[in-house]
Symmetry: D2
Subunit: 169 residues, 4 copies
């Protein structure tokens, strides 16, 4: 997740590198799907490394879809689609400081008990989200650190879902 | 908007007083509609002063509806209903610091270009939301201050909508 | 529920009379909220008899709201708002034959185990919906017949919810 | 689209064969994603032929996802997700008569101006949907006929979207 129209050059470069690294791990990239800013760049990075990309679009206007989205899901639900973005993801990464849209995705993720990695976020963002859901918020300042954190989180989730399954039997 | 299960006693007292004051102005109270915390208290305050209350519920479970909600809208859309909450409101008030749910409503409101009043919020919350959308964020530390700000905002919105109508003719 | 842009004159007349009769019973009218066809007419009828009207709007465009809607809920979710319409209603009335939008509301209502009254529907509509959910579909050819059926259904629902409560204690 | 819990054996056999044929054409299969009836069978057929499958799930309960879904989109929006199903699809196929859920998808598709193929539908269903949106409704009684119709529709849509692009330049 990250800024669309107002993304900084550094966030776009990081997003491209992150998308590429995610694809190299064999993971699927999921974004808001539009042809703008961080969304667009992370998809392009993923495709450059042969990954699969999923985009959850806010409107029916097909001209707004990033060319680097393989599976475009059309919701026509505006920012309500942000809830689908976070529920569908295993781990949420906020790339750069982002604006109100990114903030809503981080908050909806935390509300849904999902882990969020703040990659190159602002100090106000880190202070706020750590305060409301410290346990679920992690920080990274590079692509490789972000990938390492995701690996740890996935391992942790796999273990806890094994526990859940065991408890059911 | 405000905390549900984890609301502080001070937030619940403020929410009741705020609901009552809103009803005295003849305004409609809109909340997430559940029988918990700030939502429940602001509705009860509004009914104590004879106001009209609207609740946008996240699930179909009718036992979770606040008894003080007059018009209960059932969405079965989980936290996606937070988007409807903010789009339907003229002004959003976050009462108390709140948690991730409240944060998502503030962020969705700012994304939708709605004014948000942070009433007795945390300093981290104020710093974060002022940073991402300073123009739309206001602060209050009492019910009467909150009501005064809403009045100013409604007057401002009425003026700007008159301008819009004039431009169209 | 009923046709918007393509409503027939007879459906609009019936909708106005139905809205008025619903308000006279002290019930709340809920529609899709737009200023078109059956939605608009049933709200106007309800207001003519001093009723309360709720509209669940598909878009953010406030110019499309019926002037006779008291509580306008803004969803920005297109036809997904039809699901909210039926979940929020105690009984659904389809006024006139309607088009695809009305058909989706009838189907979503039946899927959610809600009673539907087909008032002056087409024979194809009656045959289809009776076939898929006969138990939940009722027919009426006048406003007074529609009101009588709603009364019976509300009595039945009240009884069954008493049973549910008893079973829980 | 088609019945979940109450699917007939013939519909499940047809769904499997249809999924396989769709995958052989190189098309993506999109369904409601649950591990029941027509949804489950069409996904299994598609995977048997090496296709890509997308499922739009109504709830957060991951145990309800069909094992044959590659990309699972979690909406937590109940039947409102039916709107996403039809908006995201190029062509909608209703396999078998279906129930109220399938009827809502057909109706939402027609409301959104999407083509719908009724494959082995009931005569009441054909009569009803032809009446409300005749231009968009097609009928098929075999998998090969369904595939032929989809090919024609895709060719038609491609031509009309070329026209749209030309008009814009």
């Amino acid at each position: 997740m990250g800024a669309g129209e107002n993304a900084r050059a550094i966030d776009i470069r990081n997003a491209f590198a992150l998308g590429s690294a995610i694809a190299n791990e064999g993971w699927v990239v999921l974004t808001g799907g539009r042809n703008r800013g961080v969304m667009d760049a992370v998809n392009k990075g993923a495709k450059a490394s042969g990954g699969l990309t999923v985009g959850i679009l806010p409107t029916k206007d097909r001209r707004t879809i990033s060319v680097a989205v393989d599976v475009a899901i059309i919701t026509d639900m505006g920012s309500a689609r942000n809830y689908i973005n976070v529920l569908t993801s295993d781990v949420i990464v906020a790339c750069g400081a982002g604006g109100a849209g990114t903030a809503s995705e981080i908050a909806l993720a935390l509300k849904s008990e999902k882990f969020v990695v703040l990659f190159n976020s602002s100090k106000e963002s880190r202070a706020f989200f750590k305060k409301i859901s410290g346990r679920l918020v992690l920080e990274a300042d590079s692509v490789s650190k972000t990938i390492d954190i995701i690996k740890l989180l996935l391992a942790k989730m796999r273990k806890s879902s094994t526990r859940t399954i065991k408890r059911q039997t």
